[in-house]
């Protein structure tokens, strides 16, 4: 800035001048201020909570899962069809009272024996395949490791892995303590577990899932700022142009302003939701639900050494419809393909610059298609952890709202969640 001496002199004389503000001004300002601690609190809790919600939701799902199993535990165990529920009864009961459990186990396990004794030959045939499974104690002790990768949040990791590891010690303990007396009993229980893991996969299951999903990368771009046509007209550009004769119009030549740029950064979309699955056949199932997605973007206009940051937050509520095709399963592990579409409605749009909210139009309906490969690991027969790495394509909805979907319509995302299998 080449300010002349006189102007500089004026600046120096007046720049730090003070004039007493009206006496009662503070009272009015204070009245307009929100409660200070509240202001501080909300700001912090607004930034982080989405991930926390996912954690809370996962914990809730775990509790629901536990509750469901608990409820199942109280049910009488009339026949082999209910086996899936009965065998796992041990697991949720364990955390309550680990010590007397061994004793309590006995009478509980007893009634299942006679029922299983009838298909003796079958049991024997299966026995050989059960042996390696029982020695596969590490198989279940691996659970925490796997769940570390699958569960989105620490809390649910802890609870799920602790639950899982407790269930491991549960099955392991009686084997050690009452080895001679209970070996047959234990083998049968393992057999039951095995059967339980296999039977529900026939498709006779509805599923309830809670999940969180993330895109895999942020999106960043820098644009130049064009000189306006009328400003470009002011400069006689034709003299610099090599083409003679042709009157150069600014409109035909884009001139970018030096020192000016517009940066935009789209943070990865964050979503979480609840879905319900319904089996159509043994391999095919349909699922739908409700999903919340949050998109955040930063737009920075840079003018030489000054920059203006505008932060945009978009909240969407969407309804997905997916078809799942089960490809393969082994033990507690399931692999499936998932394909479907989703419609998202922009429930809220917010643009904030320098702490001041600006007016902003909401986005139009956003439609997308998605495909994913899913891997599900059943911690319990009724409760699975799953991860679905996939591809999602967002159709251009024609709105002027700039967001992640417009900049990167095709992107990879990862959805992780808990699935509650409800045996019909």
């Amino acid at each position: 800035m080449n300010k002349d001496k006189w102007t500089q002199q004026l600046h120096d004389k007046l720049a730090d001048r003070e004039v007493a503000a009206p006496d009662d001004l503070w009272a009015d300002i204070e009245a307009a201020l929100p409660e200070a601690p509240k202001e501080k609190g909300t700001k912090k809790s607004l930034m982080i909570p989405l991930r926390r919600w996912a954690v809370a939701a996962s914990v809730a799902a775990l509790l629901t899962g536990g509750g469901y199993l608990w409820w199942k535990a109280d049910q009488p165990k009339p026949n082999g069809q209910e086996l899936a529920a009965t065998t796992t009864v041990f697991t949720p009961q364990k955390p309550e009272s680990p010590q007397p459990e061994a004793e309590r186990l006995q009478p509980e396990a007893e009634p299942t024996l006679p029922e299983l004794e009838t298909p003796q030959p079958n049991t024997k045939a299966l026995l050989s395949s059960v042996k390696p499974i029982s020695s596969e104690a590490p198989h279940s002790s691996e659970t925490p490791v796997l769940s570390d990768k699958l569960v989105p949040a620490e809390t649910s990791q802890e609870s799920s892995s602790s639950q899982a590891s407790e269930s491991v010690s549960e099955t392991a303990n009686p084997t050690d303590e009452t080895k001679e007396e209970k070996s047959a009993d234990v083998t049968i229980r393992q057999l039951e577990t095995q059967i339980a893991l296999l039977t529900p996969k026939s498709g006779e299951q509805a599923a309830l899932s809670l999940y969180a999903s993330n895109g895999l990368s942020d999106q960043q771009k820098v644009y130049g700022v064009r000189m306006s046509d009328e400003m470009a007209e002011r400069y006689d550009l034709s003299q610099y142009m090599p083409v003679s004769g042709a009157r150069t119009r600014a409109a035909a030549n884009t001139i970018y302003l030096v020192g000016y740029e517009e940066r935009q950064k789209h943070y990865q979309p964050l979503s979480f939701g609840l879905s319900v699955g319904y089996p159509l056949s043994s391999r095919l199932s349909l699922s739908t639900g409700l999903v919340y997605t949050r998109l955040r973007s930063d737009f920075t206009s840079v003018m030489n050494d000054m920059s203006i940051l505008r932060q945009q937050t978009l909240h969407y509520l969407g309804i997905p419809l997916n078809a799942q095709y089960h490809l393969w399963h082994s033990g507690s592990l399931n692999v499936y393909l998932s394909m479907g579409a989703e419609a998202d409605y922009n429930i809220k749009a917010r643009m904030v610059s320098k702490g001041v909210e600006q007016q902003m139009d909401r986005d139009h309906w956003q439609f997308s298609m998605q495909g994913a490969v899913g891997i599900q690991y059943d911690v319990l027969p009724q409760l699975g952890l799953y991860a679905e790495p996939g591809v999602k394509y967002y159709f251009d909805n024609g709105s002027s709202v700039r967001n992640f979907f417009k900049d990167k319509p095709l992107n990879l995302n990862l959805q992780v969640g808990l699935r509650l299998n409800i045996t019909k």
Binding site: W6, T7, H11, E18, W26, L33, K40, K354
Partner: protein, 180 residues
């Protein structure tokens, strides 16, 4: 004296009284800035109130960059608020002073600051806004053009006409004083 850092720490520590201290510290400075854009006391009061509500509710987002950065942030918010207020009242850029030959630059050293600010306040609105942004907010004509939605050329000519008009007013003031 409490540094800006200490003041900000007290505010982020939830000390309600620190908000008042920020106001006490910068309200006089803000008032002077406000009056330079909007000479009317009642109007500038509203602008100041809105500015401080904005400052105090958004203080958590302020990016501290050394001593003095808070003061210049306050100044920027007051200036922006004043410009938005003037824009709302249809800020116009007109040429009211015919070009004339440059005369001597009057010496501002001996003139009381309140008189100088008063004279700046008498400039036509468009001149005043551009002049203040250039001289006190230290923006370039390019930045002013961007901020006000005018061309760089308009900003530049508004400034020079404002400067010339202000100099004439100062000369008139000086000659009046000499006659007394």
């Amino acid at each position: 004296m409490e540094t800006e850092r200490q003041l900000l720490d007290s505010i982020s520590g939830g000390e309600r009284a620190a908000l008042r201290r920020l106001y006490d510290r910068y309200s006089g400075y803000a008032m002077a800035i406000g009056l330079r854009y909007i000479p009317d006391g009642d109007e500038v009061r509203d602008v100041l109130q809105d500015s401080f509500v904005k400052i105090l509710t958004n203080i958590g987002r302020f990016d501290y960059r050394g001593e003095g950065s808070l003061k210049s942030w306050v100044s920027r918010i007051v200036a922006n608020q004043a410009i938005d207020y003037l824009k709302h009242k249809h800020l116009q850029f007109t040429d009211v002073v015919p070009d004339s030959a440059d005369e001597d630059e009057p010496d501002v050293g001996e003139i009381p600051p309140d008189i100088l600010d008063g004279l700046i306040g008498q400039l036509p609105t468009g001149y005043r806004v551009v002049f203040n942004l250039f001289v006190f907010e230290q923006l370039s004509h390019r930045e002013i053009a961007q901020r006000l939605g005018i061309t760089e050329g308009t900003s530049s000519s508004q400034f020079f006409r404002a400067r010339r008009m202000l100099q004439r007013m100062i000369r008139d003031y000086i000659s009046k004083q000499q006659r007394i």
